[in-house]
């Protein structure tokens, strides 16, 4: 996703590396690097929010919809956003 967004010209690779570096340097980051992908995600969310491409509240709301859809989907079936029982909230 990061590579695709960069290729759309939405940010420079230096901007991305700077955000990622900030996230992995945080004192609460795991010392063994086991949370590397969480740090990566945090860096991407921050960059997208700064660029006005996806705000935190918007991400929270859609993530919650995905969680509800996952709970509402019978085991073994693909999870799709349409399965979210709270869909009427306009998402």
């Amino acid at each position: 996703m990061v590579v695709a967004l960069h290729e759309r010209g939405l940010f420079s690779w230096a901007e991305w590396a700077e955000r990622l570096s900030t996230e992995v340097k945080r004192p609460e980051a795991a010392t063994d690097g086991s949370d590397y992908y969480e740090r990566w995600l945090a860096a991407l969310e921050r960059l997208l929010a700064e660029k006005g491409l996806a705000g935190h509240e918007e991400v929270d709301a859609v993530a919650a919809a995905w969680e509800r859809a996952a709970h509402a989907t019978p085991h073994g079936q693909p999870i799709v956003l349409e399965n979210d029982p709270g869909r009427s909230s306009g998402l």
Partner: protein
């Protein structure tokens, strides 16, 4: 975490900023098509072709691109050559900048804080943990990658490989030997 990743993908797709099919292509490229064999071909060519080696030393970005390997992020490449006197080791102390176009995706340890910090503080100790004991009088030079500049180590050509084809030479070049945490395989 999976829900947040899906949420980002959903939002960005709705806004037309990403195409999920294009992302599948990118993932497939790095998982199955681009890997350390690219770098091995660069090294094997440098071992067998002096002019190419000189070009690689002068302008690694162009010399590597001539074999069809170009960085997606427009980063520059620098090739650092191991010699009898100096061994080169590559790290990214800030995050995990890595020469994807020639080495594929980085190994887990490359992204881990212990390697990122200790490669600079105690490179000799780190190399020993990789099973590589260098003579005391050999210098170790550590190169810190950035978003704009990535390094490729050109290991020393193993003795006994005279006259070998580039394909055969490339088989001696391991991923770790191009990061500097190993040497090329011995010529058997």
């Amino acid at each position: 975490m999976a829900a947040r990743v899906r949420a980002l993908e959903t939002i960005l797709t709705r806004k037309g900023l990403i195409d999920p099919a294009a992302i599948d292509v990118i993932v497939d490229t790095y998982e199955t098509k681009v890997g350390p064999r690219n770098g091995a071909r660069v090294v094997a060519k440098a071992w067998s072709d002096r002019e190419y080696a000189d070009w690689l030393k002068r302008d690694a970005t162009a010399a590597i691109a001539s074999l069809g390997y170009t960085g997606r992020q427009g980063e520059h490449m620098q090739a650092v050559f191991n010699t009898d006197e100096t061994h080169n080791l590559v790290v990214c102390t800030l995050c995990s900048c890595y020469p994807w176009s020639v080495l594929g995706l980085p190994p887990v340890w490359y992204k881990a804080p212990p390697y990122r910090s200790r490669a600079v503080i105690d490179p000799r100790g780190v190399l020993e943990e990789f099973g590589l004991s260098l003579p005391k009088d050999k210098n170790i030079r550590v190169w810190d990658s950035t978003a704009e500049l990535r390094y490729l180590v050109v290991p020393q050509r193993p003795s006994g490989s005279d006259g070998w084809s580039e394909d055969k030479l490339a088989d001696l070049v391991t991923r770790d030997s191009m990061i500097g945490t190993g040497l090329a395989r011995e010529a058997a």
